[in-house]
C-alpha cells in the first residue's frame, strides 16, 4: 500500500487535547465508571440556536474537524470519511424514548433525522458545502481504521488528494446504564481499575472525537506517514503474534524496527490478554498504553492515533503512557494495536516524517 501523510490532527477527549502541550498534561483516571469528554466553548464555532439542537457527537466533530482542516490549511477536502461505533446515540435514544413514552403518537422528526449514523459526515459536508465523496463506517472497534484505509485507497486511486478523516462517539444515558447492567462497564466494586494487570472484566467508558487531514503529499504541517493498516474481525489469542509479525514482514520491518507500540489495555482482564501476548514480540520497544487517559469506547483509537502523531512530531514519549522502561533516542516507527472485547483487531503503522 502506498503511503499517505497525516497532515493535521485534532482531538476532543477526556484530556485537554484542544490545548497546547498535550503530551505534558495528560492525567490518568481509574476510579469512575465513565469519563466525559472536555467540551470546548462551542459558541466560538457554532451558532447558539444550533448548539441546543446538536448532539454532543455532532458538536465535538464539528469543532475537531474545523481545527483539523484549519491546521492543514485545507478549506475544501476531496472526501469526508467518518468512523463511529454507536453513531448518533443521543438522538437515537431520544427518539426511541419518544416513540415508547408516547406510544407512537405526537412525534416530531428532529431526533429521528439526527439519529442517522452518517449525520456527522453529512453535517460537515453541509457546513462546508462539500459535494465530495462522503462515507461513514460503523464498526465495533475498527471504524477509524477503515476510514483511514478508505482514505488511502481514495488517494491511491487518484480520486482525492486531501481527505478529512475522523472518528467520534458519545455517551448516552440509557446505553450507559445497559452497559453497566451487562458488565461491559466495570462494576463499582472493582474500581479503581488496574489497566495493565486487571483481574476483573469490564472497562471505564469514555468518549471523544478525533479528526485528521490525510494527504497525498507531505507538507509543512505533516505529523506522520501512514504506512499501512491491517484489520481482522476475530483472532485467536495464539494467532496474535503471527498477525503482527505478518504485518511487519509485509512492510519489510522486524519487531526491532518498531520504536514504540501503543497497546489498547482497557482493564478488562479477559480481552487484555491479547495485548500481553503482543508485548512479548517487542522486548526492545517502548510499550505504551492510553485508555487510562481516554477511557474505552468504540473509537478510542482516534485518541491514540492523535497521541501517536504528537509523539512522532515532538519526539517525546509521555511517562504516563509507559508500560515498560524502554526509551528511544529517536521514535521513527509506531505500531498501534487495538481491539474492543476481542472484536475488530487492528494494526496501524505510522512513521516519522
Amino acid at each position: 500500500m502506498s503511503s499517505v501523510y497525516i497532515n493535521s490532527a485534532s482531538c476532543i477527549s477526556v484530556q485537554d487535547t484542544l490545548n497546547e502541550n498535550i503530551l505534558q498534561n495528560l492525567t490518568p483516571e481509574s476510579s469512575v465508571q465513565m469519563l466525559k469528554a472536555i467540551e470546548p466553548n462551542y459558541k466560538e464555532f457554532i451558532p447558539p440556536a444550533m448548539i441546543r439542537r446538536m448532539s454532543k457527537t455532532v458538536k465535538m466533530s464539528s469543532v475537531a474537524s474545523h481545527y483539523a482542516l484549519q491546521k492543514a490549511g485545507i478549506t475544501q477536502p476531496d472526501a469526508i470519511i467518518v468512523g463511529t461505533g454507536m453513531g448518533c446515540s443521543q438522538d437515537s435514544e431520544k427518539f426511541l424514548k419518544n416513540v415508547i413514552d408516547n406510544n407512537e403518537e405526537f412525534l416530531t422528526p428532529t431526533f429521528f433525522i439526527q439519529s442517522t449514523h452518517n449525520t456527522v459526515s453529512g453535517q460537515i459536508a453541509l457546513a462546508l458545502q462539500c459535494h465530495a465523496y462522503n462515507f461513514t463506517y460503523v464498526n465495533t472497534s475498527s471504524s477509524l481504521e477503515f476510514s483511514l484505509l478508505d482514505a488511502q485507497l481514495q488517494i491511491k486511486d487518484g480520486e482525492a488528494e486531501n481527505i478529512l478523516v475522523g472518528s467520534t462517539d458519545e455517551q448516552t444515558g440509557r446505553t450507559m446504564e445497559l452497559y453497566c447492567l451487562h458488565n461491559i462497564i466495570k462494576k463499582e466494586k472493582d474500581l479503581p481499575a488496574d489497566y495493565l494487570h486487571s483481574t476483573t472484566d469490564g472497562v471505564i467508558w469514555g468518549e471523544g472525537a478525533s479528526f485528521f487531514v490525510v494527504g497525498k503529499n507531505k507538507t509543512e504541517t505533516s505529523y506522520a506517514k501512514l504506512t499501512d493498516i491491517r484489520i481482522i474481525n476475530t483472532l485467536e489469542l495464539n494467532e496474535t503474534q503471527d498477525f503482527i509479525q505478518d504485518f511487519l514482514k509485509k512492510n519489510n520491518l522486524s519487531a526491532r524496527d518498531i520504536d514504540a507500540v501503543i497497546l489498547g489495555f482497557s482493564g478488562a482482564a479477559t480481552s487484555d490478554v491479547y495485548y500481553t501476548e503482543a508485548m512479548n514480540i517487542f522486548p526492545a520497544s517502548a510499550l505504551l498504553y492510553y485508555k487510562h487517559l481516554s477511557g474505552e469506547f468504540n473509537t478510542a483509537s482516534g485518541f491514540s492515533t492523535f497521541l501517536a502523531c504528537h509523539i512522532l512530531k515532538e519526539q517525546q514519549i509521555p511517562e504516563v503512557m509507559m508500560v515498560n522502561g524502554n526509551t528511544k533516542s529517536e521514535v521513527k516507527n509506531i505500531l498501534l494495536y487495538n481491539h474492543l472485547a476481542r472484536h475488530d483487531h487492528s494494526l496501524v503503522l505510522l512513521e516519522r516524517v
Binding site: N103, L107, P109, Q129, Y137, L153, I232, H343
Partner: protein, 399 residues
C-alpha cells in the same frame, strides 16, 4: 475502470421472496410484497403497509440452524440468509481460502430487539445478551461469524445509499489488491423506530407506493437483505469461475443541501451518476436501463428525474423503472436488492416493471417502464440516495 470487478455470487431475501429464484419469479409475474404489518408490534399496523418478510425471528433462526443461545437480531438474521445464498451461488466451499472480506451495511442494526426491552432489560436477564447486539457493527460481525469468515469485516451506514457504498468499498479493496474476494451488500429489518421516524417525516404513503407518478404520496418501508460476491480477475481465471456480471462503475457524492431532503436540481445525484460513468469509461448512450432510486416521495422522484435529464439529456433518458413498488424501500439494503435485480435484468434480458404508475409527472417528460419488457441489456445504472445528502450510483455490465 482499469479493472472490472467480477460478480460471482448473489443472495437475497425480501418481501417478494426468500432467495434469488423466488424474487425473480415475483418480479416477472408482477407480484409485489407490500402488505399489512404482522411481524412486529405497532399501533400503525393495519394503517401503514410495508414490505415485510413474513418469517418470524424464530423461523429465521430455525432456517439458519442457529444455536439456541444466539443473540442474533432480525437485521443479522436476514443478512445471514442472503449472505449464505450468495456464498453458495459463488460455489465457495472454503471461505478463508483466499483473502476474503465482508462489507455489509445497515441503518438500524439490532433496534428491533432494543426497542422491545429498552426500559425493561433489568427484568429480563435472559434478554440481556442482546445489549451487545445493538450496534450496527455487531450485525456484520454476526454475519461473518455465521459464514466462518475471518478477515476484513466492516459496516457502512450512510442511510439509504449504504449498500451501494459497501459494494463500492468492496470493489476498491479488490482493485487495490487488499482483498481477493469480498461479500458486499446490506441488510435492514423493519422496526418501530424506523417506521415512526419516516412516519413523522410524513413521507409514507397510506396505500401502495407509486414511483415517478404525478400523484405519488410517499414510500412504503420494507425489510430485506442482499449480498453480492465480488472476486478478483485472478481468482476468476484460476478457478474458472462463472461470472454473473461485472461491476464496472461507481460514484458517491454529497448533495450538501439538507439533512433529509434532496436539492431541486439533484446536484448530488448528478455528480454520483457522472462519477460512475467516468469510472466505467462508458458513454451515457451505453446505459440500456436505469434502476432508479424512485422511492415515490414527491421530493426524491422530482430531484432524481431532473438529475437524470441533466446527465442524459431531454428525451434521451434510458428506459427506467423503480422496483420499490415491489419491495418497499429497504433502506440500507436497498442498493443490494437493486443490484441483484439489475443483474437479473441483464441475465434474462428483462426490464422489471415500475408498478402502480398511471400519470406522468407534470414537471418533466419521463415515463417509466410499466410492463415486463424484453430487452437486451448490457449496462445498467442503479441509483441510491440517502439522508445526509448521500448519493451513490453503481453501473453493472453484462458478463
Amino acid at each position: 475502470m482499469s479493472q472490472k470487478i467480477a460478480i460471482t455470487g448473489m443472495g437475497i431475501i425480501s418481501s417478494i421472496g426468500n432467495n434469488v429464484e423466488e424474487n425473480f419469479i415475483s418480479l416477472q409475474s408482477g407480484k409485489h410484497g407490500i402488505s399489512d404489518i404482522q411481524m412486529f408490534e405497532t399501533r400503525h399496523a393495519g394503517a401503514i403497509k410495508t414490505g415485510e418478510v413474513k418469517l418470524s425471528n424464530e423461523e429465521l433462526i430455525q432456517k439458519l440452524q442457529l444455536d439456541e443461545d444466539n443473540n442474533v437480531t432480525r437485521t443479522s438474521l436476514l443478512g445471514m440468509v442472503a449472505a449464505k445464498e450468495a456464498i453458495e451461488s459463488a460455489e465457495i466451499s472454503e471461505i478463508n481460502g483466499y483473502r476474503t472480506g465482508l462489507i455489509s451495511s445497515t441503518s438500524v442494526g439490532g433496534m428491533d430487539i432494543t426497542e422491545k426491552y429498552f426500559y425493561s432489560y433489568e427484568n429480563f436477564p435472559e434478554k440481556q445478551k442482546y445489549i451487545d447486539a445493538h450496534d450496527a457493527g455487531n450485525s456484520s460481525l454476526a454475519i461473518a461469524g455465521y459464514l466462518g469468515l475471518k478477515g476484513m469485516v466492516s459496516t457502512i451506514s450512510t442511510a439509504c445509499s449504504s449498500a451501494a457504498n459497501a459494494i463500492m468499498m468492496g470493489a476498491k479493496l479488490i482493485k487495490n489488491g487488499v482483498l481477493d474476494r469480498v461479500i458486499v451488500g446490506g441488510t435492514d429489518s423493519l422496526s418501530k423506530f424506523t417506521l415512526n421516524g419516516f412516519n413523522t417525516l410524513m413521507i409514507l404513503t397510506d396505500s401502495y407506493n407509486t414511483p415517478f407518478d404525478n400523484d405519488r404520496k410517499g414510500l412504503n418501508l420494507g425489510e430485506a437483505a442482499a449480498f453480492l460476491v465480488l472476486e478478483s480477475e485472478e481468482i476468476v481465471k484460476k478457478e474458472n469461475k462463472k461470472v454473473l456480471a461485472y461491476l464496472s462503475g461507481y460514484g458517491n457524492a454529497n448533495d450538501a443541501h439538507h439533512q433529509t431532503a434532496s436539492s431541486e436540481n439533484g446536484q448530488g445525484a448528478f455528480l454520483a451518476m457522472q462519477q460512475a460513468l467516468k469510472i466505467s469509461g462508458l458513454a451515457k448512450e451505453d446505459i440500456n436501463y436505469i434502476n432508479v432510486h424512485g422511492t415515490a416521495t414527491p421530493n426524491n422522484d422530482l430531484s432524481e428525474g431532473i438529475a437524470m435529464i441533466r446527465i442524459f439529456g431531454e428525451n434521451q433518458v434510458p428506459e427506467f423503472s423503480s422496483t420499490k413498488a415491489f419491495t418497499g424501500h429497504t433502506l440500507a439494503a436497498a442498493a443490494g436488492i437493486e443490484a441483484v435485480f439489475s443483474i437479473l435484468a441483464m441475465q434474462n434480458g428483462l426490464i422489471f416493471p415500475n408498478l402502480n404508475f398511471t400519470t406522468k409527472m407534470a414537471e418533466f417528460d419521463l415515463t417509466p417502464v410499466t410492463e415486463l419488457k424484453k430487452k437486451d441489456i448490457n449496462h445498467v445504472l442503479s441509483n441510491s440516495f440517502g439522508f445526509g445528502g448521500n448519493c451513490s450510483t453503481l453501473i453493472f455490465s453484462k458478463s
